[in-house]
């Protein structure tokens, strides 16, 4: 649940602000890696899954 809270705050804590934006692929990869979420499943640009 702590991982999920970190993801939620990283994605959404600035969502009501003018300059907010969704993380880009390389940023997502870094965010997931910091949480120990690695491998093809968590790679937003993986072509493993067709």
């Amino acid at each position: 649940m702590n991982q999920l809270w970190t993801l939620a705050t990283t994605w959404y804590s600035t969502r009501l602000q003018e300059n907010s934006r969704r993380p880009q692929a390389d940023e997502m990869r870094s965010i997931f890696a910091d949480l120990g979420l690695e491998g093809d499943f968590w790679d937003p640009q993986s072509d493993t899954f067709g």
């Binding site: 994605w11 959404y12 003018e18 934006r21 997502m28 093809d40 790679d43």
Partner: protein, 146 residues
């Protein structure tokens, strides 16, 4: 500020303040523009993956973490009811609002109702697990299913 940004803020602020999705006409009125221009902004926001529309091209299905339609993930913040798109987004609503809240949902394995208090620093320690079924590269192939 660009019309895309004005439109995004109008949508998100409506969700934050009411728990409900705004109509296309209401967004146009808020940003002081015409419906056609706001519809074009919707297309841009969809491409940025901050907006998901219904097939009619104007009804808002998702402005993540908010859902424009009722879901099993109900979030109560300051006595206002919100619907989230998924478990991740149910945490995302208190994170977006910077307010504590309570998440009501259910365990997808057992069907058991779940209720979890979310503080400003997140949820309390618990043994629940978030199961992500779809690989990250495929999330937006069908974001409603994801």
């Amino acid at each position: 500020m660009s019309l895309d940004t004005q439109t995004k803020l109008a949508i998100y602020r409506c969700f934050a303040e009411t728990g409900q999705r705004p109509s296309l006409e209401a967004v146009a009125e808020t940003v002081g523009s015409d419906v056609s221009s706001v519809r074009e902004a919707y297309v841009s926001l969809r491409a940025e993956r901050v907006l998901v529309l219904e097939p009619d091209g104007e009804s808002i299905r998702m402005a993540p973490p908010f859902s424009g339609v009722p879901t099993q993930h109900v979030v109560i913040v300051d006595e206002r009811k919100y619907f989230a798109n998924c478990a991740w987004d149910s945490f995302g609503i208190p994170a977006t609002l910077h307010r504590p809240g309570r998440v009501h949902s259910r365990c997808e394995q057992s069907g058991e109702p779940l209720s979890l208090e979310i503080g400003l620093e997140g949820p309390p320690p618990c043994s629940w697990l978030f199961h992500c079924l779809v690989p990250a590269a495929k999330w937006w192939d069908d974001i409603v299913f994801t």
